[in-house]
């Protein structure tokens, strides 16, 4: 398990310290997250994996700023988060593109909070379309896109504001396995090109090990980070390779506990 050193703190993009969340249902306290501690370095790719109900999506939402009622601290570059911010973007499992806007306008929504000139807006949107490989579909409507394409558009929308941190909540869960594998490779390419920090939440161990520099394993009831496993393999990774599967087995072993 990696522990932050003094040098590492300087390049830490995201810091979770003693983060906890409790729901109050019918007079009873239901702890969903407990004492979560994670230090995520700038430019790192972190996978968070765990069974359903371990609170990983809740954790991601806290980081994104969708929920501001929690214990502990969530720090971005040393500053505590207060609601959604321009340096973070979130991609949901369902693409959540607005059906009444075409792809260009949907992506443009990501720029709404920024004050850009028209030309800059158009340039940025074009840039995103190219990045995710949807250049020919700028005028398409969401219902005309396949699942994978729609999710790519959602990623474009999340990246158009040039965030430092990209948060992804089971983004490929609704896709078939072939599309999913393709999207994972695309995601790695985008990550390398943009040099962003990515935190992805997934229940797919294969995906977690394929993508992440580290894999944080969470256990449920209450949600806790059980262990963080380093994936010290060069990319591109071979899913059928021995080393890959060894790490996969380690993660699975942790999950079974």
């Amino acid at each position: 398990m990696s522990t932050p050193t003094l040098d590492a703190v300087a390049s830490t993009a995201l810091s979770l310290r003693n983060v906890g969340k409790t729901y109050r249902i019918e007079g009873q306290d239901l702890p969903v997250l407990q004492r979560i501690g994670l230090e995520i370095a700038r430019g790192e790719f972190l996978s968070i994996v765990g069974a359903s109900g371990c609170g990983k999506s809740t954790l991601l939402r806290l980081i994104a700023g969708l929920d501001d009622r929690f214990d502990g601290d969530i720090l971005i570059d040393g500053e505590p988060v207060a609601g959604p911010g321009v340096e973070r973007s979130l991609v949901f499992q369902d693409h959540r593109l607005f059906p009444w806007l075409n792809v260009t306008d949907n992506i443009g929504l990501g720029l709404d909070s920024l004050d850009l000139s028209r030309r800059e807006r158009e340039a940025r949107i074009r840039e995103q379309l190219e990045l995710v490989g949807l250049t020919g579909f700028a005028q398409a409507w969401p219902h005309q896109l396949s699942g994978g394409m729609a999710q790519r558009a959602a990623i474009a929308r999340a990246l158009v504001s040039r965030p430092d941190i990209l948060l992804m909540d089971e983004p490929f869960g609704a896709l078939d396995s072939i599309t999913r594998a393709h999207m994972q490779e695309e995601l790695l390419r985008i990550w390398r090109e943009r040099r962003i920090t990515v935190v992805i939440v997934t229940h797919d161990v294969d995906e977690a090990v394929f993508l992440g520099d580290r894999v944080a394993v969470m256990e449920p009831r209450p949600g806790r980070v059980q262990s963080v496993i380093e994936v010290d393999l060069p990319r591109p990774r071979e899913r059928t390779g021995t080393a890959f599967n060894q790490i996969k087995q380690r993660v699975l072993g942790q999950l079974k506990r």
């Binding site: 969708l66 959604p84 959540r96 607005f98 009444w100 806007l101 709404d112 969401p142 219902h143």
Partner: protein, 281 residues
């Protein structure tokens, strides 16, 4: 195939009741057949009516002959009274819509967006809305008399009620998924309104307007009959006073046809709207 039928015949008579095999069943195509059947009853009624008028079973003041009604219709149409009355009625609906529509929309949006407004206003509004348009008429007549303002206000009220209800419901039913996406994207309030709230609740709002318009139409007839000096509703009352029931019947038919056409137009419009904005459900 024959063996199966034989088997079925052996077990017992065919289980499903068979419709009477009319000889002309296969002679005509189905849609034509349906049309003829649909027209059969009204045709029979009109025929009976004509017969009764010709035979003098009822005095013409009680039941004018269909031919007379038709002549009166042509007379009123050519003389311009029909068109005049129609235009005046249309104008009233337009004014009532222009008054009640935006008001209802604004109130509905406010109620949809603000939980505080809802908790404070909903009980009172629900009680007020429960009073049918008819109940408002005596009160409003005392306040406004029987000139145009009354009619426009009555129609505006009839439009407002469904618009407020459906707009507030439409806004409250905007999927949480989109609201969260809007928060994460940190959309500005104006963008949120124009690019999320309004498009998302458009279908519901539109069906509220559709209902409001049909209520407005009924309110128009009612108020014209009770407190007007021109318009289709008044025409019927006037015809009744003169015991010229042919005019009354023409009025009834015009009202019915107008209502039909209005309903069809609105349905068509609604379908066209949902085609332009796919993904709505």
């Amino acid at each position: 195939m024959a063996a199966l039928e034989h088997l079925a015949g052996g077990v017992g008579a065919s289980p499903l009741p068979r419709a009477a095999a009319w000889p002309w069943r296969t002679a005509l195509p189905a849609p034509l057949r349906r049309l003829l059947l649909a027209l059969a009853l009204p045709a029979a009624i009109v025929a009976l009516w004509q017969w009764a008028a010709v035979r003098g079973w009822v005095p013409p003041q009680i039941l004018p002959a269909p031919a007379l009604v038709w002549d009166t219709f042509l007379e009123l149409a050519r003389g311009g009274e029909l068109l005049e009355g129609f235009l005046i009625s249309l104008q009233r609906i337009g004014s009532g819509l222009a008054l009640g529509g935006p008001l209802g929309l604004a109130l509905g949006i406010w109620l949809g967006v603000s939980a505080r407004a809802r908790s404070h206003l909903e009980p009172t509004l629900r009680a007020l809305f429960a009073v049918p348009t008819l109940g408002w008429i005596p009160i409003l007549i005392l306040i406004f008399g029987i000139d145009e303002a009354l009619k426009v206000i009555v129609i505006a009220k009839a439009v407002m009620v469904p618009v407020v209800l459906s707009t507030s419901r439409g806004i409250r039913n905007i999927p949480l998924a989109y609201l969260e996406a809007a928060r994460v994207l940190r959309l500005r309030p104006w963008t949120r309104l124009t690019r999320l709230t309004l498009p998302a609740c458009l279908p519901t709002v539109f069906s509220g307007f559709r209902l409001g318009l049909s209520h407005a139409f009924i309110a128009l007839i009612v108020v014209e009959m009770l407190a007007a000096t021109e318009g289709i509703g008044y025409m019927m009352v006037w015809g009744r006073k003169l015991f010229q029931l042919d005019i009354v019947i023409v009025g009834i038919v015009v009202v019915g046809v107008a209502g039909c056409v209005l309903d069809l137009l609105l349905r068509r419009l609604e379908r066209g709207l949902s085609r332009w904005a796919p993904g709505h459900g």
